[in-house]
Symmetry: C2
Subunit: 215 residues, 2 copies
């Protein structure tokens, strides 16, 4: 199991603010994500600008692709994304279409887990050659005060056992990292927690916890 990486989600509603955050965090994050909000705000220009300014980082375009997979995937990879997200609610044909384009670009796709998915669905993703998924509390569920549950952790373990590397997000704080011990965690994703004044401190605290549990 490799050590989980740290990912910043850029969810600003305009590109200049996002670029400023990216510049501030680049030394202590491994992965830069063009969040859905930023991607809808500025389009693929956000991806290509961040690619140009941060050539060494892994760049994710969080499209939560649900349909029109081949075209959306191509747009994002051509703009410079390394990984794109695809919604768990997408038809399996859409997921397959994305995977095919990803392979062409040596890119990867991450299944973003939302809605009433099943472990059968997850097996179908793995059968397509998918190796990554994103597990999270919805931003809005988080705002509604819904925390990490034993059921969440159990599902993560099962997905992990199917062979999926998981990126974990939704109000991630250093003191919660122990919850995910033993899970094949690809990355921990945060936005404001890393973008703020104490961002570097938070990233270091996350890394300390990661080293404790994925030593």
């Amino acid at each position: 199991m490799t050590k989980p990486l740290i990912q910043i989600a850029l969810d600003q509603t305009n590109l200049p603010s996002a670029l400023e955050v990216a510049r501030r965090v680049e030394s202590f994050v491994d992965i830069i994500e063009v969040g859905t909000i930023l991607a809808f705000a500025d389009g693929m220009n956000a991806v290509s600008t961040l690619r140009q300014l941060h050539p060494e980082h892994i760049l994710v375009c969080d499209m939560k692709t649900t349909d029109g997979g081949a075209i959306l995937a191509r747009m994002a990879y051509e703009a410079g994304a390394d990984w794109i997200t695809v919604s768990a609610a997408a038809h399996i044909a859409t997921i397959g279409a994305c995977k095919k384009v990803a392979d062409e670009f040596n890119g990867e796709i991450q299944i973003e887990i939302y809605g009433n998915w099943t472990m059968e669905d997850a097996k179908a993703w793995v059968d397509l050659g998918i190796t990554q998924a994103i597990y999270h509390r919805s931003r809005d569920a988080e705002l509604a005060g819904v925390g990490w549950t034993d059921a969440d952790i159990e599902k993560m373990r099962q997905l992990s056992e199917l062979g999926l590397e998981l990126s974990i997000t939704g109000g991630i704080v250093p003191q919660d990292i122990y919850l995910f011990a033993g899970i094949n965690a690809k990355a921990f994703i945060a936005g404001r927690a890393l973008a703020g004044e104490k961002g570097q401190e938070t990233a270091e605290a996350l890394k300390t916890e990661i080293n404790r549990f994925w030593g």
Copy 2:
């Protein structure tokens, strides 16, 4: 039951091509949709430009919102959208957040039906005050040759009975319109079929069929 409208989905990968299509079809469509592809290509600039050029049309932003509902909804309504789409896979808190912003702008939201949804989910949407949903064959499913089934029509009838107006899409052709008779259809959505050389002819054939079945 009101007569179904005709909606063009603009899914071009760049704004100039989309504007050209919109200009060509404006006289025979009621609703202009900034498709997910176009919205990701050019961002909210696509919405505000189309709003400016087509002030009298209903303008939809097809975001398939899955999370971060309040921010995405606000972005789209501020750019001039009348309606936005929200994924059926979104957490109910996300759908509620979108609805709240919609109300503030006198906008509407359309639940875009994807994934393993249930009629219980649909009831929860209606309880939130949602009045519209989009039912379709996935673009990729359509490419894979999956047609309209009796199960599709039955689900549409049930959604209709719950009080949802349905916009129907996925390879819509005039000769299929009779399939949807009796359903509370808000609009029929097409892209290439309306954008092409025979677009006006197709729109007229659609309207003839609509008049037959929603007379």
